[in-house]
Amino acid sequence: MAGELRDGRIVVVGASLAGLRAAETLREEGFTGSLTVVGDEPYPPYDRPPLSKQVLIGGVPADTTGLPTRRDPDADWRLGVAATGLDLLERRVLLADGESLPYDRVLIATGTRARPWPDAGEAALDGVFTLRTRDDASGLAERLDAGPGRVLVIGAGFTGSEIASACRERGLDVTVAERGPAPLVGALGGTLSQLAAVMHRGHGVDLRCGVTVTALLGDGNERFVGADLSDGTRVEADVCVVALGAVRNVEWLADSGLAAGARGIACDAGCRAFNMYGIVTDDVFVAGDVSRFPHPLFGYQMLSLEHWGNAVAQAEVAAHNMINPGPLQRPHLAVPTFWSTQFGLNIKSVGVPTYSDHVVIAQGSLEARRLAVVYGYRGRVTAAVTVDMAKSLDYYRHLIETAAPFPPPPGAADRAIAADVPIPSDVPDPKGLSHEPVVALTGHLPDRRLMVVQPTR
């Protein structure tokens, strides 16, 4: 049985971080069959986090972030061609060029794309960008090199904040428009969002919160020249970056019968996809940003993460489980971990900060711009965020993994709890924000269709 699983045909759809790490792991763990990796981008797997950091700050060209391999996955790379469907009965991946690839097991790792500006005409104006791919980043970096008078960033989530930070580092004027009350509030809650707002303004960003952008304006020659805001003001700018979060690449699975929806594709702790009736499949696996998976530390709710570390860890578990029989399969239980570098600060998060009712500042202080904030839910620790205190993170991860009581006892590191009064974590409803959060709790049901009549789209 185990021997059989090491052979056969495996197709991986999505040739990025999760797809690459899965392909390597399959070989490392002894898969000797045929391996095909399908990707709609024309490039071999590359790393995305530098695209909003080093690449925009300058010095690192967008086309130099190719991911190193741990070993040659000895795969047939089908790049520049999209998968358009999945036939579960015939076990075939359908491709845009008309071909179809038979499989014994398939891994879905199609990730996400940037949420576009809702008005297609305005989005097409010259000077309006989103940032997800290598091509997006090289186009944007080129515009920044040209020294625009002002850059407008719409959405103050992690990506929007990093873009604003990079522009300021280049000395460019930047306006950031965010619908919520402060930057990063959707991911980190009230306390740290105050620090984020201070960092934006301290670095010279023209930060406008509680406003929406109502229209992007062209000059009559299809060139972007500014935007109107809901408070009646107008921002003149030469470049606009739309940073409204991500959309899961699930459309190609619409007719597959899998539990694929706006929040991603539901899978079990072993990365096996659910079908639309909530029945788990045994030859379709999911990993990375496109997945939704249950986590015991967070009430078994399905998590949707846009985290580099999760894509790697989940891809490794999925690959292991694709070539091992049930009793030898492993669960994907890694505690979510995320980092962001912006305005000279190193922000790291472990656990799920939005799964919280209270926070305490456990080390450091907002004034020092160096601190650790611990998040609790119903009396136990569920997350921690450090700012320039990365060495403490492992300690807090341990508290989360052991469901330690909240507020945590003193002794984390250099001092007693800095402020032992828990305050509300103040995580707003994502509906009131410009951007989608990079961590989302999406409830317990594998598929909304089990609960509601599918509304017309």
Binding site: K53, L67, G309, V312, T337, W339, L345, A390
Partner: protein
């Protein structure tokens, strides 16, 4: 040679920065930024950085050679 740093694991010890300052740089107190594509004359130093990183966060290797694509 290409590198990628697992920044969920990196703790900002900065050994890599001392060993290969042309490739690795600290941004502020502990935010690490680096050049993913290693210049030829830095390869030796980067190999030392890979070995020296206390949390083994740096992966160096070649890109996928995507033939047949």
């Amino acid at each position: 040679m290409q590198i990628v740093v697992d920044l969920t694991r990196c703790q900002g010890y900065a050994q890599c920065v001392f060993l290969s300052p042309d490739v690795f740089q600290l941004h502020g107190q502990e935010g690490l930024l680096y050049a993913p594509s290693v210049p030829e004359d830095q390869v030796q130093r980067v190999r030392q950085a890979v070995a020296a990183c206390p949390v083994q966060a740096i992966l160096a290797g070649e890109e996928v050679a995507a033939g047949g694509g």
